[in-house]
Amino acid sequence: MTFAQIFVFTLLSLLVGRLSGTRIRSWILFVANLFAVFWLQPQTSLRHFDFWFPTATIALIVLTWFIVRERSPLASEDRISLAAIVFLILLISLTRLLPRPLIIPTYPPQGQRIVITLLVAAGITAAFASVRRERKWIFPGMIVFIVLLLVVLKSETLQIGLSSVLRRALGQSPELASKVDITWLGYSYIAFRLIHTLRISAMSKLPALTLRELLTFGLFYPALTAGPIDRVERFVKDLRQSQMLTPGRFMQGGRRIAIGMFKKFVLADSLAILALNEIKAAQVSSHAWLWLLLYAFALQIYLDFSGYTDLALGIGAWAGIDLPENFDRPYLQTDIGAFWNRWHKTLTHWFRFYVFNPLTRSLRSLRTELPVWTIILTGQLFTMVLIGMWHGIAWHFIIWGLWNGAGLFFHNRWVLFHQKYWPLSSTWRENPFLRAIGIFITFNYVALGWVWFAIPNVDAAFDVMRKLIGI
């Protein structure tokens, strides 16, 4: 989000929050979110795809809604929502007639193309709606589709391949295909929100949702670009009882916005100048400077990400929605397990719920009994590698995942060892000196892991690692 976008969103939330009446507030949020998904979409070299990506996001949510909704005729509210979506998309298409692009970075495609695409999307949705939840394959089928799309968007090779195919179809030069062409705003977050929605719907735990509610959940503008990944049942509860903006809520949200702005635009952006990257790593003259650059990266990534979360929470609070916390002083934790309970919490909770727990459960229930440590090792490594791949399907992210998975596993073993052979009293555990050592070790272990995050070239990252630890 740019400074201007944050400013507009804060004003919007202020307006929404001050409106009396939950219903009117939620309708305004619905329309604002639809605009926001177009407005926030970055420009792409693929012709008209800064229009098609947001449209596809909306279509995906609508399709999910048709899958998860209860079998009943469309309520008038949902019909109005559908009409509003079509109207808004057509309205944005009319910006083609303006002297310069508005809302999206380039001109949208011609109206007839949009109409044809909307008709095709409606046809697909109708087909799915007719099959719906009675068919057992529909939920896993949709989840697989969302995951496959995520895989394409996270793999550089597949991104370039897709870009090349699309460029050919659009009459653009396939030689210029680039991963940057496939910049689909917020898909990583939206995908996980939708997977969760489908999953709990399959478990019959999803409350009845209107289309407007699911779209607001999926596209909630403060959380569109950088999370947090909320749970639909929690979000909708908040949406239905959204709080009017009181002075206390204004101060609470305002404080988060101010802190977020300071973290992101002052601290993180300044540290970004120093943060470790491959070029700097090759240029620095000494070991100590390399550590400094690594620490700058560690702080920058935290302040950037948590700054965005603060902004999302503050803007959300003004609009009457309390989004979940995503960071809780992660670098001040005494062990890596505690770190991962406080770093990008909504993502790690998601993976724990949907990957780690089911995986370890299934390993435990195998006919051949496995030693506990192998179950834990497999679970930690597999989960952390997947978290790494969520950032991008590349070797450096996989190694980053393995590094953290290994850290979690060894910490787990260390705790058990202690409990068995060398139990510490609570006084010792709270000893400030021991705590400081724990924080120091944890921070440095995590920081060393960031080398893989900062340097995509695996050989170069290994070199940096060697230099850092002095071998």
Partner: protein, 383 residues
């Protein structure tokens, strides 16, 4: 009282009161900033020469992420980042300030490869035993007025010799309002008025200096850049890099004019006033007792260019020859020390433009210059 109770204790009147006070304080800070020139005080907060070593040349760069350097316009901040600002002059030091354009700054060179850096590294001593220490005060863009502006700041550091590289382009009257000059209108106007330069103190190209533009809001970009320069200081210290040089530099291509005009001036039309010798004169006067060595800098020469009517893409022969003659004559008249090195370097030494030479050429030029400075500092009988 828990957090929610604290939050609920707020009311709109209090919030509005706080916001009005905050806005008032912000306005007051802006007024103070605009009313007093706080840049010199702020420049003292520089990380250079305190936390990190000073830069070997003035900050300049269009690719900060790779060069760990950026172009800023505030002279105080620029000078504070230079190594000269952190080095107390030693009794056994013979301090040389080298002025000039991007060739002196070292456009295609790393900081240790520039002409002043190599003169410095040559480790020459004057006959009275003082070590010749050269400081790079060159800065890209060709304008003698820009050099004069820098000289006026450089004099604070008590130089023993000024070496001033110039060329026809930097002498050309219309080029005088270079960006650094534009963005420092106050100091430039003082020079124009005090030194009676043939420049308009109200030139429309000077950046406006309205009250609004002097506020924090009005100068937010300059402030942000000054802060960014401090961060880049850490990278400068850790890498020693202050310039990203692309591997393939392409030679500039200009269309040669058939009528041999130079900035619209045709053969036989050159007026002395079109050459800013008054700025050189002001520089020599500003230096006072400090000797000034003027050097007509080496240029790229292509004998065949424009059927032999041009020395290079920038200079038709007629005007460059006339410029050299007039510079020579003026120097003799004024008693200036002039060294004409225009054809000192082979054409292969020039890479991307008329004046940007490579590291090898800088080395040969530096050894010549170091020797020359040594000779210059020797008593007349010992030369």
């Amino acid at each position: 009282m828990d957090e929610s109770e604290v939050e609920d204790s707020w009311n709109w009147a209090t919030i509005i009161r706080i916001m009005v006070k905050a806005a008032g304080m912000f306005v007051v800070f802006n007024l103070i900033f605009a009313s007093f020139d706080l840049w010199p005080s702020m420049a003292k907060l520089s990380v250079y020469n305190s936390i990190v070593p000073g830069r070997r040349r003035l900050p300049f760069g269009s690719d900060p992420q790779r060069s760990y350097n950026l172009t800023i316009t505030q002279l105080d901040v620029m000078v504070a980042s230079h190594e000269i600002a952190g080095e107390e002059k030693q009794p056994d030091e013979f301090r040389v300030l080298v002025l000039g354009d991007s060739a002196v700054w070292g456009f295609l060179l790393q900081p240790g490869e520039t002409l002043p850096a190599l003169v410095d590294a040559a480790d020459y001593h004057t006959l009275d035993g003082r070590r010749i220490r050269a400081y790079n005060f060159g800065y890209p863009t060709m304008s003698l007025t820009k050099d004069l502006l820098l000289l006026s700041r450089g004099m604070e550091f008590d130089p023993d010799l000024i070496v001033w590289f110039l060329t026809l382009e930097s002498t050309w009257r219309d080029n005088q309002i270079a960006p650094l000059v534009q963005f420092n209108p106050g100091a430039t106007r003082t020079l124009i008025l005090e030194r009676h330069l043939n420049l308009n103190p109200d030139d429309a190209r000077f950046s406006p200096t309205s009250f609004w533009q002097r506020t924090i809001i009005g100068q937010r970009r300059e402030l942000a850049n000054a802060i960014r320069l401090q961060f880049y200081g850490l990278l400068w210290a850790s890498t020693g890099v202050d310039r990203y040089i692309p591997t393939a530099e392409a030679r500039e291509i200009r269309e040669l004019s058939v009528d041999l005009n130079y900035h619209g001036t045709l053969p036989g039309e050159l007026q002395e006033d079109q050459l800013s010798f008054d700025v050189l004169s002001a520089g020599v006067a500003l230096a006072g007792d400090v000797p000034v060595l003027l050097i007509n800098e080496p240029i790229y020469i292509d004998e065949s260019m424009g059927d032999g009517q041009y020395y290079n893409a920038a200079y038709p022969r007629w005007i460059y020859d006339e410029f050299r003659e007039r510079l020579q004559a003026r120097s003799e008249r004024e008693g200036w020390t002039l060294l004409d090195l225009w054809d000192r370097l082979p054409s292969e030494a020039f890479k991307d433009s008329t004046v940007h030479y490579d590291a090898g050429a800088a080395k040969s030029l530096a050894s010549f210059l170091a020797e020359y400075i040594y000779t210059l500092t020797a008593p007349a009988g010992n030369r």
